[in-house]
């Protein structure tokens, strides 16, 4: 198809909802085969942009402005007409786009068939070919299962295959790789770049994280509160020669530090002592280590590598087949429920899925519950502790009676930290703390957790797949791969001289390439 004009031209797009402006005077021109990354924190208007371009606006959106496709005539953006080019939408598998009771393969084949206007048989063949190109591991047979059975990375690959099987002219990626783990994000972005090179489609990638601009490069449009703050090449924006807001945004991009760190001598009493704990599939997987008060340990590995199994054995959620776990000089498995409960008060949890929060409780009740349940304090004292904890995490000005269910993920995460602070724990278990947060949220949460560690000195047990998180919160690490611990030691040592392939892969996943200025990486 010969195009005399740009693939996509947006002029003066305004989107408002209930009197609130979501997007203001947005203009963009995208040539065929070009890519643009729309970057901003949550609420900056990128969701509204995607809704309008994708053709699924909200009922209360009021839209003005015009859009022209493929050099055709400019039409009002408010009208939902079929665009003359093929537009594909690439969602994030964690947003649960699939019907939970039907097979993923069935759904994808139907999507491809509808996009192509082809019968199901040829759509299935197209999908199979696309999957072959992307990954050997993901086959149509594997995808013939319910979405609950497939891990998110497999679903992401399947979605990308479905998108490319439809041979689109323009792909709208909606935070497509967010929260998949740095290794997976890197792999998926490389696959996306390869597909774009092969098929030549235009790409509009909407994101709140900094991995896509750092890895894909190319043109970046920075949005803030509905307005374009800056537009330019990724390398230049990352280098610091940019608007103050952009620089602030990119400064949030965590980098690994490879400097030699003076080892901190282990000072406190032993908090967690593990003797020959059987944790993995093979009988010889037994673990012996010691975690002292105030020290911290990171369990680093991809999803499914066995970190959480070890965590459950450590915290005596389940009876381990062999070995002993001693928490604060007491064997948890030997104690009765009631006595173990008293010890367990000194453990706190912070999880990335916010599942330790009861959605029905209010903000204040969540923070006050450990105090009320375990101590006999007056209402004033409880209120005092609550205020202190909430101030530390920045939630003091929020309405205390709001139910937890109505909070944003960022607020929920901070609420978990406040609840942990209030309990004065000896051990804090942190599980993927930055999941679901945008760039600013991640920076602030890192600061909150580091501040918590410095002021209260609990021991941290961090479960993560991101070495930068491990480095900022812990000194020692255990690297997991396929259910076993492959490497242990001080993080600084592992970073400088990784011995195992798994460790190297995890380090590479968060090591960002230096992008030469003015050159897109694809």
């Amino acid at each position: 198809m010969s195009e005399s004009g740009p693939l996509l031209e947006i002029s003066e797009l305004n989107v408002a909802q209930d009197g609130e402006t979501l997007l203001e005077r947005f203009s963009l021109r995208l040539e065929a085969g070009e890519s643009a990354i729309i970057l901003g924190e949550s609420g900056c208007g990128k969701e509204a942009l995607l809704r309008v371009l994708g053709g699924f606006p909200d009922k209360n959106d009021s839209i003005t402005g015009s859009i022209a496709f493929a050099g055709g005539e400019s039409r009002s953006a408010a009208k939902r007409l079929r665009p003359p080019i093929r537009i594909a939408y690439l969602p994030n598998p964690l947003s649960q786009p699939f019907a939970p009771h039907a097979s993923v393969l069935d759904q994808l084949v139907r999507i491809v068939a509808r996009k192509q206007g082809a019968p199901l048989g040829s759509a299935r063949e197209e999908l199979r070919l696309a999957l072959e190109r992307l990954s050997e591991a993901v086959t149509p047979a594997l995808l013939d299962a319910k979405p609950g059975r497939l891990d998110p990375v497999t679903q992401a690959i399947a979605l990308l295959a479905a998108v490319s099987a439809g041979t689109p002219d323009l792909v709208l990626a909606d935070h497509a790789m967010a929260d998949l783990g740095p290794g997976a994000v890197r792999m998926m972005l490389e696959l996306l770049a390869a597909e774009r090179k092969r098929l030549g489609f235009g790409l509009l990638y909407v994101t709140g994280g900094l991995q896509p601009p750092a890895r894909l490069g190319g043109r970046v449009v920075v949005l803030r509160a509905g307005r374009v703050v800056e537009e330019g090449d990724a390398a230049r924006l990352m280098s610091g020669h940019a608007h103050a807001y952009t620089s602030l945004l990119f400064r949030a991009l965590p980098q690994l530090s490879f400097e030699a760190v003076k080892p901190r001598p282990a000072r406190g009493q032993p908090l967690l002592q593990v003797h020959a704990l059987g944790y993995g599939p093979a009988p010889q997987d037994s673990l012996t280590f010691e975690l002292r008060r105030g020290a911290s340990l990171a369990l680093v590995g991809e999803d499914g590598s066995g970190r959480r199994a070890l965590l459950r054995a450590l915290l005596a959620f389940e009876h381990a087949p062999a070995g002993r776990v001693i928490f604060d000089a007491v064997d948890l498995n030997v104690l009765s429920q009631k006595m173990a409960a008293r010890l367990r008060r000194r453990i706190a949890f912070i999880t990335g899925t916010d599942e330790c929060l009861d959605p029905r409780m209010s903000l204040w009740d969540t923070v006050e519950e450990p105090l009320r349940a375990h101590l006999n304090l007056t209402g004033e004292l409880i209120a005092g502790y609550r205020e202190t904890a909430l101030k530390r995490v920045g939630l003091a000005s929020h309405d205390g009676d709001r139910p937890v269910a109505s909070l944003s993920p960022f607020d929920k995460r901070r609420l978990q930290v406040a609840r942990a602070i209030v309990g004065a724990p000896l051990l804090v278990v942190i599980d993927e703390p930055l999941r679901g947060l945008d760039a600013f949220g991640q920076t602030i949460l890192r600061e909150v957790l580091t501040d918590f560690r410095i002021t209260h000195e609990p021991a941290f047990l961090v479960v993560t797949s991101d070495f930068t998180v491990a480095q900022s919160l812990a000194e020692e690490a255990m690297v997991f791969h396929e259910g076993r611990i492959v490497e242990r030691g001080a993080i600084a040592d592992i970073l400088r001289e990784p011995r195992e392939a798994a460790s190297k892969a995890l380090i590479e996943a968060v090591r960002l390439p230096a992008l030469p200025p003015g050159q897109a990486s694809v």
């Binding site: 409960a341 367990r344 008060r345 949890f349 929060l357 009861d358 309990g423």
Partner: protein, 265 residues
């Protein structure tokens, strides 16, 4: 999206307002009624609605307006009693039982499940037949309790993730129970009570229609409609007004319970 909550709130408010109005009417029934309950007027049999008798008279010459008002207060009072029993022995007990030690909880669930397999109406008739008629509202409440118990029991999510984490951090089971009761019940008590009221009203009135109601001379609406059954095909007012009053009570209770379709009625 934003009109559903508004509609829901309006209807719920209308339901509670209706119940309030009925409560006022019931408490003033002795004043509003022109004649004491059950009093007949000779020579005034089966008069159509007119100025002297706005709701007409029945087969025995009783003024239908007075009878309806007295019957409404009887039915409403009995239903309230029965609803209280159903909520306490059914809903509340079910929510508490779910957090008891597992073998005890499952046994209770099994026992109540057997009784919940029989239609509540039949249980009520049986219970009233076995005991004195004086206990009719109590029997209706107890008969409606098994179903309420089973629903409340199944509603408690004992293995929810946040409960697991709470136990892992040493929060005692009693606190978790308090959590459930405070947050669920406080939010739902109004709608649970209204729903129980509607269900018990239907059961009680049907039971008294079938002849298992409270002792005469107290006549409630079900009994009135049963009495009107003989004559209503020709004299429609003998059954229509009690029926309307009954439907109004049930409707207001249903509306007050809310439009939550996720919940069963």
């Amino acid at each position: 999206m934003s009109d559903t909550p508004v509609l829901g709130t309006v209807l719920r408010a209308a339901g509670w307002a209706g119940l309030g109005l009925i409560a006022v009417t019931v408490s003033l029934s002795d004043f509003l009624a022109r004649a004491p309950a059950g009093s007949t007027q000779s020579g005034a049999m089966l008069h159509a609605p007119c100025d002297a008798h706005p709701f007409g008279t029945d087969l025995l010459g009783r003024d239908m307006l007075s009878e309806t008002l007295h019957g409404l207060s009887q039915t409403a009072f009995h239903a309230l009693l029965g609803a209280a029993v159903a909520v306490l022995c059914g809903g509340l007990f079910g929510a508490v039982a779910a957090r008891l030690p597992r073998p005890v909880a499952l046994t209770l669930r099994g026992v109540f499940g057997i009784f919940a397999a029989v239609p509540a109406l039949l249980l009520t008739i049986l219970a009233i037949g076995l005991s004195a008629r004086f206990y009719a509202p109590l029997a209706a409440g107890l008969a409606a309790a098994p179903l309420a118990f089973v629903r409340a029991f199944d509603h408690v999510d004992i293995d929810s993730t946040h409960a697991e984490y709470a136990r892992a951090t040493g929060i005692p089971a009693l606190t978790l129970l308090k959590r459930d009761l405070t947050f669920e019940f406080r939010r739902m008590l109004g709608s649970v009570a209204a729903r129980a009221l509607a269900a018990v009203t239907i059961i009680l009135s049907t039971a008294s229609f079938l002849g298992f109601g409270a002792e005469p001379p107290a006549r409630d609406l079900g009994l009135m409609i049963a009495a009107g059954k003989a004559s209503y095909l020709t004299a429609w007012w003998t059954a229509a007004f009690p029926a309307l009053a009954l439907i109004l009570l049930i409707l207001c209770a249903r509306l007050a319970a809310g439009l939550d379709e996720g919940e069963r009625p």
